[in-house]
Amino acid sequence: MSVLRSLFLLILIAFPLHASEVRVHAAASLSDVLKEVAARYEKRSGDKLIFNFAASSTLSRQIREGAPGDVFFSADEAKMNDLQKEGLIVPATRRSILSNRLVIVVASDSRIRMSNARGLLSTEIRRFAIAEPSSVPAGIYARQYLERIGLWSRIQARAVPTENVRGALAAVESGNVEAGIVYVTDALISRIVRVACEIKGPDAPRISYPAAVLRDASDRVAAGKFVLFLSSREAMTIFRRHGFFAR
């Protein structure tokens, strides 16, 4: 009997009853950094985080179709607005957490040089990868920028759309396209691409990553705690190290 009792106690200690599972739908560009943030948060709170990484457009679609989840962490405000309009998030918990920058990347062994985005006009660049430019945030940011500087219509035919921003990075890594437009944070995680030029100046997109608790969250308190943690100094240190910056 005493063996059973100590076994029971052991289980209680190993799996504290108050621990919750928080299911987070997060933008593909957050996949590496959030794993690090999660390790820190899980140790501190005892809650467990479960991630679903994809393009924010895919995630918003999944949430609208009823995919179970507690938190949505989007790469643009538009996707969050859509969900808010349909009453699928808890508006009071919504906050803009991060910002990011776009860059043009090429393979590290590529000889292509460019000082700004007009370099994409070069004939050396037969094709360039970009996240799907009508739905995926990274693609929308990139297209809108290229439109503002009057480049999009001239290079649109050479764009290879990918399912999410990491797909664009992978296409450059594989050498199948000469360049790609990704976030600087994506460029930083790859050893086989280099940044050919940064997209900056007054026309550069204003990138914003909002997070919010979902209406159908199973544990709104635990979900809300995680959203708060995302903008804590501790989390921000990790985000900064990965190239993100505070909003």
């Binding site: 457009s57 799907e132 739905s135 759309p161 594989s174 396209v177």
Partner: protein
């Protein structure tokens, strides 16, 4: 249906037809070799040919991507010597369709050739016909229904190819977008109405192709 959607439909039909035309010569040759001769490594070749039928199409696509990408063994050769890109072009769509549909053609053709009585071929030979002539006037003539059925089946399979295509050809509007890939993309974009329109088109085409192959295989009975 707008112009872009019709473009997708006709592109898919054209590319599937091209892919089917390209697999007919090697597919028939293989089916015939498998049906008529015993040779070393035959079972290995049979197994490899059948693999795309049972492997996840995405896995097949990954293999193709590695072989035909610019840094892949074949892709690098084509790019350096002929300045030819495969991955993310219409050629990749053809490639994916060919690999995914050739097993159906080879298997149907093999059965069709096996059904031809070898004695009839021998008789033709004793009457002085050359091997070539025997093949085209006796063997092929008698196996023609099975072969046509196999060609239609392969064509139908090409039309629906998705898993390998999305990896090697991507989804480039007006260039590599096929029916299957466009449906997926429309769903991703939340444009369900557009997806349903293409769905109706692809069900219709697939129905006609499979039905035609059934009719051919059942010797012309329509229902």
């Amino acid at each position: 249906m707008n112009a872009d959607e019709w473009q997708v439909v006709f592109f898919t039909l054209r590319i599937a037809a091209l892919s089917t035309a390209l697999i007919v010569p090697p597919g028939l040759a293989l089916g015939w070799l498998l049906a008529r001769y015993q040779w070393r490594g035959k079972s290995i070749v049979e197994t490899i040919i059948a693999l795309p039928l049972v492997m996840p199409p995405v896995a097949t696509g990954l293999i193709l991507l590695h072989l035909f990408g610019r840094r892949g063994a074949i892709g690098a050769f084509l790019y350096q010597n002929f300045d030819l890109d495969v991955v993310f072009t219409w050629r990749a769509v053809v490639l994916a369709m060919m690999v995914m549909s050739i097993p159906l053609l080879v298997r149907t053709a093999r059965v069709a050739f096996e059904d031809v009585n070898p004695r009839l071929e021998q008789i033709a030979r004793t009457l002085g016909a050359s091997d070539m002539r025997v093949f085209f006037t006796v063997t092929l003539r008698l196996a023609v229904r099975g072969i046509l059925g196999g060609i239609l089946l392969a064509f139908a399979r090409s039309l629906g190819e998705f898993g390998a295509t999305i990896l090697v050809a991507g989804n480039i509007p007006g260039r590599t977008s096929t029916l299957a890939v466009s449906i997926y993309n429309f769903v991703q974009l939340g444009r369900d109405a557009d997806a349903y329109r293409l769905l109706v088109v692809s069900v219709t085409i697939a129905f006609l192709a499979i039905w035609a192959s059934e009719v051919v295989l059942r010797r012309g009975r329509l229902v």
